[in-house]
Structure formats: C-alpha cells, structure tokens
Amino acid sequence: MKGLDSYCAYPKDVKSLLEALREREAETIRIDLPANKLRFVSLEKALEKYKTVDDLAKRMGIEPMLVNNTLDNAKMIVVADGSPYLIGKSSWISVSGRIDIYGGGFAELEPDDKANVINARLKQLDNSQVKVIIVSGKVRAIMSKKYSPIPANETFEAALQAIRNRFADVQYMVGYYDHEIAYVKLLFPELAQQLTEVYGIPDTLVPGMLILTSDTGHAGVRIAACWKHPQGSFRQTDSEVYVKHENLNGLGKVLEEMPNLFIKYQNAAVKLAAMLNIELQHPAIVTKKVFKALGVGDKHAKATIELLPAVGATAYDVCMEIFSLPARLNLSEAARLELEEKVAKAINFDYEKIDADI
C-alpha cells in the first residue's frame, strides 16, 4: 500500500515510472504556515481521545492501516493549522534528528515528552514559515520555506525530454521511488561505439545517465553521466549536474547545465558560430557571471575582461577568451587539465539571456 512508510516500487519502464510519479504528485498536499501553527501530538494520546484506531482513521479520513503503520514507526501526529496528519517515518527521522537535547537523550523519551520537546522548539521558531509536505496520507517532510522542491514528476519529465532530444536512443535500465527519493538509470546502447571512441575508453562500456531527485528534502536534483561496465556496475563519472531545491528556477538551471554531461559529444562549431551573431551589451558583466558560474576566480574574470574588444564584443569573443585562460596561466599539468574541464563548459551558456537579464 502506497501510504505505508516502507513503500517502494521499481516500475517496469519509463512510462510506468512517470505515471506513478504523476499519481504521487496528485496525492501530494503542500502547506505553508508559521512554525507556531504546528503542534505534535503522540499517537498514543490521540488514541486516548478517539478510543480505536478505526475511529481515529475515520476522523483523519485515511485507512486504519496507515494509523497502525505509524504506531509501529514515528508514533506521532502533527496538527497543522487545525488539521491532524500522521507523521511518516522519513519525516520523523528528519525532524527528530534536528532535536538536540542535553545528553542526547531525545530518543529515550516517551512519545508524549518527545512531542512536548518538539512543540517547545516550534514555539521558539514563532512566525518562521515552514512547509509541510503530505504524500499518500502522511507527512513526508517538514522543511524551512526557503526550500522550493520541484515535484519529482516534473523533474523527470523535463530531464527525460532533454536527454531524448540529445541522445535519441534511450533505453530504460531501472527506475525506483519511495517516500524519500526517486531515480532512473538510462542507457544509450546505440551510441556506445561513438561515445567510447570520443572518450578513449574500452568499447565494452555503455554510456548512460542517472536522474535522481527527492521532493521531500532528502536530496537535490542530481543528473550524472555514467558508464555501465560489462560486469554490470553502473558508475557515475565526475560529470554531473546537482541543483539544490532552493532556487525557484531550479529546473531551468538543471536544463541549462545538462549539455555539460558528455560534453565532448556535441557540435562545438554550431554553438560557436551562433555566438558570433550575439553582440553583447554588457560583455564585462556577462564574463563575470560566467566565471562565477564556472567556479573560476574573479581575478581571472578581470584579466579576461581586459582582453575583450572595447566595442562590439560578441558572445564568441567572451567564450573564446574564457577557453584561452588555461593557456594564459602558468599551471601544472594536473591543474591545467582541471581548469580546461571547467572552462570547457563556457560553450553551453546562454550568453544572450545572461546579457538580456542584466
């Protein structure tokens, strides 16, 4: 049963995975409210009032099995703005892990005392906004409002579309989801020969990608280039996109960075040619922003800006000067290679948009 804390599933294909995640999203409620409007109550105490599990379940509009499942795990209810919800195991681990009492004895407390300790902490938070995420009848996360998790189905749909557009032949390897995370492993068998040649690795390896996310606070969005080895292991490379669920434009950032996965498999000429026709209004600021996004020091941005033409600089000028940075510095071989890898990503920025947004 979906609402049980231990629920997990391995859908048989991409379509089933997406359908399951869409259904899950339909069963999701997100409530934003001040922390002091949350009140924890032990399940034991609630049952004193409602006498039976069935009566309590009826009051909450859920299956009695979910109440029993909570009695086995978190043993806790949270009342959010007057409505009671069962606490799921995953959110309980996260909430209780944040409660630190002298001697580390929180776990030893009776459920009623645990509820009192948490309620006292929530009272201290006063009007600070929190987000409560309820999935399939139980609270799966209580998080600070600064988090804006992207629903898992949206992440998967957008990322899968981007992958299909670029790699065409996409084979489902395995998919998984539970109340904490969801992931899918994909393979590109038709591109194995080409990609192994590009990367100079044995042609027995099959390229693929991992998409992993959590919309209940357990992980950000992680999309990684991987290789499936002949022995069956699916190993991630250093090349990955990781975006925390803090940014309202999180998915936009993910999609912008995805072309950096298997970066050697691209048409650089087309991208550079397009940049030749993008005349920048603010080349210096654009350069600074790109350097920042690449994680390369500001002093290098300043030195690069000095190399740009005084008037009429194009995105191509900015990109090529960024590419030339490793050659301009006196670096060890290892440091040069590392910097080359970083600056190679300059080809995948939307310079026109960065310039327009200034």
Binding site: V198, Y265, Q266, N267, A269, L276, N277
Partner: protein, 110 residues
C-alpha cells in the same frame, strides 16, 4: 587550392573540431575566427561576411551562393589594398571558402 581534408590538418583548426561537427563546419569556423579577429583588432570590417557564413554553420547547410558572396566580399576588401598581414589572413579565408564550396559542389554532383 587546398582541399577540405588538407585544411583540416592545418594549425589552428583542431580547436574547432568536435565529435558531431561536419568537417566543413569545423573548417569554416576557423575562417570565422580569422575574420572576427581582424574586426576585433580594428584592421578591417568583416561583420557583414561573418554573419551570413556563421548562419550557414548553425543551419548545417553549406549554401554555395552564400559562400560565393562571402568570397566576393573578401576579394573586395583585398582590392582596397591591405597590409601584408591582413592580405595573408584574408587569403587564408578565401582558401577555406573555396575548399568548402568545392566540396559542396562535388557532393552536389556538379
């Protein structure tokens, strides 16, 4: 006149090579780089040549009429009498344009 394959091996072209790019796109990018540099350095104005040829690379179609116009435009600049450095660079560009054009004509069955 050099062929596309010969130009591909010349210095400075490799940095534009990538797995999914056609040879003509890679080689034309080298010509674009030369023209862009001449403009940047304030030596001659080349934007009117760069714009349409860059678009060919983006569109993935080496249109002969656009290449012919680009060749004429480069010749016009040369006719204005340039320094040795500029003339050498522009000659390099014309060689590339012809190589791409000839390849295209050959593949088009002309």
């Amino acid at each position: 006149m050099k062929t596309l394959e010969e130009i591909k091996e010349t210095p400075g072209v490799k940095k534009f090579a990538s797995y999914l790019a056609e040879d003509w796109q890679t080689v034309l990018m080298k010509a674009m780089d030369v023209l862009n540099r001449l403009e940047r350095d304030g030596l001659v104005s080349t934007r009117h040549i760069v714009r349409p040829v860059a678009k060919l690379i983006v569109d993935g179609i080496a249109e002969v009429s656009v290449l012919n116009r680009a060749i004429n435009d480069v010749r016009e600049i040369l006719d204005e009498g340039q320094s040795k450095l500029v003339a050498t660079k522009l000659a390099e560009v014309i060689v590339i344009f012809f190589a791409v054009k000839n390849k295209q004509k050959k593949e088009g069955g002309e």
